[in-house]
Structures are given as C-alpha cells and as structure tokens.
Symmetry: C2
Subunit: 449 residues, 2 copies
C-alpha cells in the first residue's frame, strides 16, 4: 500500500456533488421528468460523452470552453487531442440522428437526461459539469408546427409536476423579431437581436443607447423597444405588432406561427405561458419559436429551462432535419433551490423499516423479516450489531427511517413495529403490516423559500 | 453557417451507443436494479466524472489506461493535465465518503449507476466508456460480516429480477486462499493467487506448470489445484479444505467467514451461489469474501458482475473505512446479450396510443384526446399530418405502437380505437378506455439465445 496522500480530498469548483438527501431529490426529479416525457411518447436516449473536436468546434465552441480528452498512455508528445466532452445534448443528438438515420422512424421523438461539460468560470447557477433534461422531435423532411405547440405544453406541464416554484414560459419567435426589424428597414437585424436579448440585464435605457450606437434612428429605436415590451397571451398582442410596422413576409410568417400556437394551446397552461418578444436566445441555431422559463422569485438568476425550433441543426453533417426541442437545466435548477434551502426530502434514505437486532444469534431471523418486508415492496434494513435499542433507534433517527421493527416486542413478545416519530408501538406481521402510503418511499417537498 | 463536413458522422470504437429499442432495454434494467437496491435501503449517489490524476494513479492505474481531461482554452503549452476520468465507481466513492464523512450516517449504504472510462483496446465485452451499477456499504469503524452475506443475497436476487439468463455467483475468500497457501509453506502466496486466477482461461495443466515455475513442489502444487477445484455449497467443502493443510490462523479466519456466510444465506438463492476457490480477483484491494457472477451460456465471456470485502479502501486518504460492495457490468451484460440478439423490447417507443389525424383543423381535438389519455397514465402521440389512415397506421407499426385512435370511427361515428395487431376496432372514450396491462408500458423479454 502507498502512504496516505498529504491532502484531504476536496470538492472541485464547478463540479457539484450532492449529499444523499439532495441526491434523493435529484432522482425524484429525474423520474418525474422521465415519466412525463414518456407519456408524450418520447423514447430515452443516451449518447457517448465525447465527440470529435472538429464537431464541437463547428458548433459554437467559440463561446463555450471545451474540455478535451486524451489517453494518458498516448504521452504528452502525441498529436493534439481530437476528442472533447460535449457541451450540450443537442450536438451529440444531431450527430446520432444523422449517423443512425436508416434505423430511426421519423418524426423521431427522444429524451436525454445526461451530463454536459463546459470549462467556463464557475459561479452561482453556472457549472462545469451539469445535468440537462432534453426532449426533441426531429423530422426527416418537414416538421409540422403542431409539434412546436406540443413542446410548449409538455414543458409547461412537466414543470408543474416538479416540487418547485411556478415557472412562467416566455415565448418569442425569431421570425417575428427578425421580420419586425427588417420591416423597420434595419440592415443588420441579428445585431439588434443580440442587444434586445440583454434587456432584462441592462434595462430599457441602455438597450436604447446601444441600438443608437448600431445606427438606428429614434423611430426605429422606439419601435424596437415597443416590441421588446409588448407582452400577453391574446391575439391582440400579435395584431398590435403587425400594425406597428410596414408589411413584411418574414414577420407575417412569424405572426402566423404565433397565432397557431395560441390556437393550439388555448385553455392549456393559461397562467404559465406568455408572449414576450424580449426573448431572443443568443444561440444561433433557432429558426422559429423560442422560449425560456423563469421561476417565480428567481427571475434574476435567468432561465431554468428553454427551447425552440431549429430547421438546420444537422447542417454540418449534410442533412437538414428540422426539429423543436426543450431543455430543463436540472443541475442549475436544483443548485438554486438547494442554495435557498427550498427543497427537502422526507428522509436521507429509501429505507422505511429498520429491523432491530437483539443478539447476533437472531440475525438470520432479522434478515428473513427484512426479506419478507422487501418482498412486499417495503424498503428495509437490518441493524448490524446487538447494541442497546436506544442506539439502534438513534441510527434510524439520523437517517430519517420512520419505523423500527422488533422481533420480540415488549407487550406482545412477538414482532412489533414502532413509529419512532410518535413512539406508538404495536404488534405487526411482516406478511401483513403496511406503512402509511406517504412513508412507503422518500417524498420531496418545497419548503418556504 | 459553416459548410458541411466532409465525413459522415460515425461511431467511435469502444464508445457504445444504443438504438432506441436497445436504450429502452437499458432503462428497464436500470429501473429494476435501482428499485432492488432501494428495497435494501441503499441511497442513490452520483459523483463527478473527474478526479485528480494523482488519486487515479494511486489506485491501480498501472493496469488501467487513464483518460485525462484538460481545458482546450488552457492551450497546449500549459502545465500537464491534472484531471482524469474515473475508471471505476469505487475510487470516487471512497473519495466522496472521506470528503463528506461528517455529513454521512454510518454504516453508509449507497448505490451508484454511472459511466466509467478506460483507454484499453476495445474488444467484445470490453468498452472504453461503460456503465456499471454498484452498491456498497461502508462503516466508519467496524463492519460486521452480516453485511457480506446480505450483499451476496442482494446481488443474487437482483440478477433474478433481470430478464437475462441465470447467473451463478462463484464465492471465494481471500483469507482462505492466502491462508491455505501460507499453511502450505509457500513464501509468496500473492503470486500463487495471480496464477490460480487464470485457471478457467488456461486450464489445470498450465496452472500446474506455472506454479512449478514459481518454485512450488509437487505436493504444494497438488494441494493448490485441489483448492482450485473444490466446489459446492455445503460446510463439508470447508471441512475438506481445513483437513488438507496444517493449521493456519488466516485460513481459520477465512473459513469462519465462509461458514457464517453459509449460515446466513441458508435456504436463499440455493441454485445461484456456490463456493469456488478458483476465484481470486486480480484487483488488490479485496481483503475477505470475493465473488463473481457467470451467466449461463456466456461463461467464456467472463464475469458480468463481481464484488467483495475491502478493509482499507480509503487508505490513501488516511481513513480505513471497511466496506463490502457489488458491481454489475451493465454495458458489458447488455452488449453480450444484444450481440446474441437475446433481448427484445416489446416496442421502440413508450407510446401506447397514436391518435390519428383526419384534417389539420381537428388537431386541437386530437391533441386534447391525447392529453386526456396522458392524464390517465396512457402514453400517447398525435400524428402530425392528415395523411391516409394507411400511412398513419404504418408509422404506428414501424414504432410498434399497439393502438391507433380515431376521432371519427367508421361504425360509431365517434371515438374508436383499433388494436393494429389484430385489426379489432371498437368505440372508446378517452376518459374510460384501458389498454391491456401488458401494453401500458414497454416490456423487455429474453429471446432464445
């Protein structure tokens, strides 16, 4: 054996790891999201963690900091590393779809809950290793707009299933934005888009000033600010946009897309979806609807989820494959809520019952008792040493295990089970006893905040 | 947009990715394993993917090929990379436990289903990126032997829950092996252990010859071969081992550990556990019971799962923390079974019902119908274009979706649902219709082999 290392092991900035009671919350979120995605017919997918560096660099790696991966055995004098860890789940998904095109049935609906890596400077809500939960549908040919509507509903509904604060989805449309700016006679609409995207961060006045620096005149600036400030969920909003500028084909197309969305989702998620043309999404691959979700009370932390339509995602691979997708920033969301102490698991373990041990000799009976409970779906542990009951109960308390099982109860002399939260103890049989429904599994709840 | 890349995207050797119907099998395995681990009170854990290189190198990286990770932005002239991807789940777990010692309750039981990476040459059953499903219990102090017994039962039981071929757990004990060799007067028992470990690969004669090369005399060789060939699940096996050599404290200890195991698991997993002292496990951190599982019909491919007791896992971090753990080679297991076409998902999607579309105008009604089915836990999709019914049904067939829902049925004029496997179509209400239980979710079954 080697001598002990000098330094105590410690965390790595930007690479979060959760405590058991937090990880139970994480797993609960993952199952809720998976179940929801599956209800909508999305099939699970997991891609490898690495992609050829050229693929990652071709896909916006200018603003992401890539991690490269090399075999240590290749030595430091070997050729430059040619693999990198993916920085999102969309690039590997596009590559996977093109690669397996002949084996997939389109429209292809998949979800993917996986880690990505970015070498950015870690800060609150920004990690170097993080989980995202994505769902996308892609077509090999045309992808009707009804998918866009469905994705908005799926995302809104999924968020209501999670024990978090309400999230409002702010929905915008690239064609409305670019068409509106074009109709105003602006030469570089994309530049305006990048400025407007900062509205919530820098405010109205600064946006106006920056637009002036781009060469826009006062009237153009006012109209751009009008578009950035209009908000609502009524078709009237779209009418007021149409009336504000000269006719423009791209704008008409964008407004028609918005009208179809409003029609499709009528009566659904009324409070959770709002049109907001301040949303522009910096990433350049969106080509239609775009949206992001802000959590009530956490608006200043930015989006906890996002999504949109892209028509040319796999263009680098020589295929068009239009799609629309959503993404929930799982690590970001949990990091924010854990940071505020706003989420709690009901206990630190899946265990519902701790079988107490009187003496080492009765271990086989204690083990068989646990096995009978497990066979009935009741998570159980056996205490591993015949210590005083008070010490065994203390272990259960520390882990939040609600019930302790005794092979020789004080009153009946037979099996008894005690709810250690209230001290009530009663005779029980491992074949028949049922814990209250709420104690069967760990539950997660939102706490204050 | 950049021009298309010259090469079609392709797979990376050693980095497996599954097709949707295979990934559904993977997810099914993960849920079955998780549910089983949770029933035994193991709590989920996920560690970061990277560890300081010095930690990985201190832990047997001589025989594993490490992947290093560096920020591309650091440039090629920067200092040597100091992070690597973990090559198993045990090293990061040991580091996590020492790091979070003050926040954990011991004995600490955790499971971890995660990827690891090894830069070895890819071959059948050996991958560069692979999933393992581990469960371990560690103590901060002493860890009673009953945990060893429970882990064997947990592993045996978990394997019976998976739709695979039967797996036999071959159980050995490091103290029996080393004690037996010591009792024979062999100077370097560890060298014998490494030779015996190859028994199934190279055969009896070659093992005998190699032991001769180590300097063992004929009688020592015969006894070593006897130990390697004894097998069974009766205490008599242990008696015959004891009788074959002079008394030795280490051997006595190992045999006592085996006896306790046999007593603890009496009547459990009778066909699935056998003593086999040919099992030695090359990895050096085991200090008591060791075991590996061979799948019937796939014995020559080596172990699909393994485990054992370790008393000094966290020694490098200055902590002893004895533990016992199990590991299921998930990617390896699935790779073998997929390779033989021995596993099948009932369909390629979670979807149970495809709602057909008559015309674009009825999309809102079709969508609301799907929403009603989803609200009742029935996974549904809406077809996205008003094509001929035959084309819509063809899509369902290709994905294996069993039911197609019509808003205007031929006979009733109202909602009807057709089982496309037998063509039976009948009136149905989205509030009341129930699919057969077996069609509610994807099922996975073993096929021939």
């Amino acid at each position: 054996m080697k001598p002990p290392m000098t330094s105590k092991p410690k965390g790595l900035s930007g690479f979060p790891e959760w405590l058991p009671e937090q990880q139970l919350v994480f797993e609960c979120f993952v199952r809720l999201i998976e179940d929801q995605f599956r209800l909508y017919g999305f099939t699970p997918l997991e891609t490898r963690s690495v992609e050829p560096l050229e693929v990652l660099l071709a896909k916006g790696a200018t603003d992401k900091e890539l991690y490269t991966v090399s075999r240590l055995a290749d030595g430091s004098d070997a050729k430059a590393p040619d693999l990198g860890l993916h920085f999102d789940l969309t690039v590997p998904f596009a590559r996977y779809v093109v690669q397996n095109r002949g084996h997939l049935t389109f429209p292809f609906r998949r979800y993917q809950i996986q880690k990505s890596w970015r070498g950015e400077r870690p800060q609150e809500g920004r990690y170097r290793e993080f989980h995202q939960a994505d769902a996308d549908v892609v077509a090999d040919g045309e992808l009707p707009l009804c998918h866009d509507s469905e994705m908005v509903v799926l995302l809104a509904e999924t968020l209501t299933k999670l024990p978090i604060f309400p999230v409002t989805l702010h929905v915008s449309n690239r064609n409305v934005l670019l068409g509106f700016y074009t109709a105003l006679g602006i030469a570089d609409p994309a530049a305006v888009l990048r400025v407007v995207d900062k509205f919530d961060k820098i405010g109205r006045e600064r946006v106006g000033a920056l637009l002036g620096e781009l060469g826009l005149d006062q009237k153009q600036i006012e109209r751009c600010l009008f578009l950035a400030e209009v908000r609502g969920r009524s078709p009237d909003v779209l009418g007021s946009i149409e009336a504000a500028v000269p006719k423009c084909e791209l704008l008409e197309r964008g407004l028609a897309e918005c009208r179809q969305l409003l029609r499709d989702i009528e009566g659904v998620a009324e409070d959770a979806v709002v049109l907001n043309f301040r949303i522009a999404r910096g990433l350049d691959y969106y080509t239609g609807i775009i949206f992001e979700g802000l959590m009530h009370g956490f608006e200043t932390f930015g989006a906890v989820c996002s999504g949109g339509r892209y028509d040319r995602l796999a263009a680098e691979f020589g295929a068009d494959l239009p799609g629309v997708g959503i993404s929930i920033g799982l690590t970001r969301l949990l990091g924010l809520l854990f940071g505020k102490g706003a989420l709690a698991a009901s206990r630190k373990t899946p265990t519902t019952v701790l079988v107490a041990l009187d003496s080492a000799a009765v271990y086989p009976e204690a083990f068989r008792t646990a096995q009978r409970l497990r066979a009935r779906g009741i998570a159980s542990e056996v205490f591993d040493a015949p210590l005083k009951y008070s010490k065994q109960i203390r272990y259960a308390e520390q882990k939040g295990i609600p019930f302790v099982w005794f092979l020789k109860g004080q009153s009946s002399g037979g099996h008894e089970v005690r709810d250690i939260r209230n001290g009530v103890q009663e005779p029980a049989s491992p074949e028949a006893w049922e814990p209250p429904r709420a104690d069967r599994d760990v539950t997660v709840s939102r706490t204050g905040g």
